[in-house]
Each structure stands twice: as structure tokens, then as C-alpha cells.
Amino acid sequence: METEVCDPQPLVSEETEGRLTVVSGYKENVKWDRRNLTEVEAAREYFERLRSEHFLGFRMNRDGSQGTQLHSFDASAEEILMVPPSVGG
């Protein structure tokens, strides 16, 4: 019998896949395959566009260890979270 594992949003589904997630319900998220240069470039362009809108990029690790802030796109990242700009109240 085949068992289906239901995880609606696994952190990384494949070793070669990267994911860019925008921490906001309103922006598009993208995935890329590290072996596919077109997808990598599209993700890089999206990252740079968000950075130009003052979003912060954080590289997150699959093993749950501490992430790091990214100042430029890293195609080897398993997941990048983009955080919208914040303001003091």
C-alpha cells in the first residue's frame, strides 16, 4: 500500500531546489532549481527587485539551525525569507 505524506509546505522538497518566500500574504513566492540557470536568474532578479524595495533577505537552514542575513542572492540557499521594510512607531 502506498503511503502519502501530507506536508502542505515542506521546507525543501528536493536537494536541488531553492525557495524564496516573501513574509507577506500579498507577494509572489518563487522556487528555483539550482541546475536550471534560467530559474536561478529569475529568482536572483526577483530577490534584487525586492531588495531595491528595502526588503531584508534571510537565509534559512533546513536543519533548523540559525539563519543569516543575505545582502546578495545566494542560489545555494535552501530557503530565503524576504521581510518587508519596518518602521518605528
Partner: protein
């Protein structure tokens, strides 16, 4: 179509050929549906990055604690405030008779990200505190106690 737009950041062009009140009504419904979807998506994302203890606290008490990059303790609340107490810095000040830690409020920080669901805002603050606390402190407006 000029005047009031209830959903300026949403793509409602598909309804732009409708007229007057009808357009606004549909825009509002579209915006509400979109907002609910965004809330759910943001909450799922937040839950993925909370530790089991943080998730339990968030579910039961509507807040979770974060130990920052520099080892400080912050509390993030589910509610969205327009004033202070958006994020609170705490310090452990002895123990209570039942053995639990006694926490003292050190400072309240007022910081916002506009036009995103609250869960997205909380995840953003958590990431900033854990990975770039200096930026958080430079942005937030503090009230010390």
C-alpha cells in the same frame, strides 16, 4: 475610476469596467477574501518557523518569546497595537514561589510593518531579533522602564 479605493495594493483591474457602487462592493469582497487568504498563509508560514515551545505559547497565551542575537529576551504579542507594547523586552528577575521565572519588563518597542498580516509581522520581527537585532533596535521606537 478615481476616488476611494478600498484595496489599493490589490489587483482589481478585472472589475474596473464595472460601475460605481457595484465596483466598490466587489472590490471590498475581493479585498476581504484576499486578506483572509493572506492571513492564513502568513500564519502557516509563522508556524513553520516557531519552535514547539513558541507555538504552544502562541496558541495558548497569544504571545511567544524570542531570545535575540545578543541573548536578550523579547516577547511578541499576537494583537496588533497602534501604540506601544508591540514588542516587549524582558529580563529574568529571580523565581516565583512555584519555581517559574519571574520576568520584569525592561522596555517596550513600537515597530510596525504596514499592509501585511499580523502573523507576517511577527515572523519578520522574530527574524530581525534573531538575525539582525541591531537593525531592529535602530528601527523600533523604545520606551524604557
Amino acid at each position: 475610476m478615481g476616488g476611494f479605493n478600498p484595496a489599493p495594493n490589490l489587483d482589481v483591474a478585472v472589475l474596473a469596467d464595472e460601475t460605481g457602487t457595484v465596483t466598490y462592493r466587489y472590490q471590498f469582497q475581493y479585498a476581504v477574501a484576499h486578506a483572509v487568504q493572506a492571513d492564513e498563509q502568513a500564519l502557516r508560514l509563522l508556524n513553520r518557523f516557531l519552535s514547539p515551545e513558541q507555538r504552544r505559547s502562541f496558541d495558548c497565551a497569544d504571545y511567544f518569546d524570542v531570545v535575540s542575537q545578543h541573548g536578550r529576551l523579547y516577547r511578541l504579542y499576537r494583537r496588533r497595537c497602534t501604540g506601544f507594547q508591540n514588542v516587549t523586552q524582558l529580563r529574568v528577575d529571580g523565581r516565583l514561589p512555584d519555581g517559574s521565572e519571574r520576568l520584569m519588563r525592561v522596555c517596550d518597542y513600537c515597530i510596525h510593518i504596514y499592509c501585511v498580516p499580523r502573523a507576517a509581522e511577527l515572523l519578520a520581527f522574530k527574524l530581525m531579533l534573531e538575525l539582525n537585532e541591531d537593525l531592529f533596535l535602530a528601527t523600533a521606537n523604545p520606551t524604557h522602564f
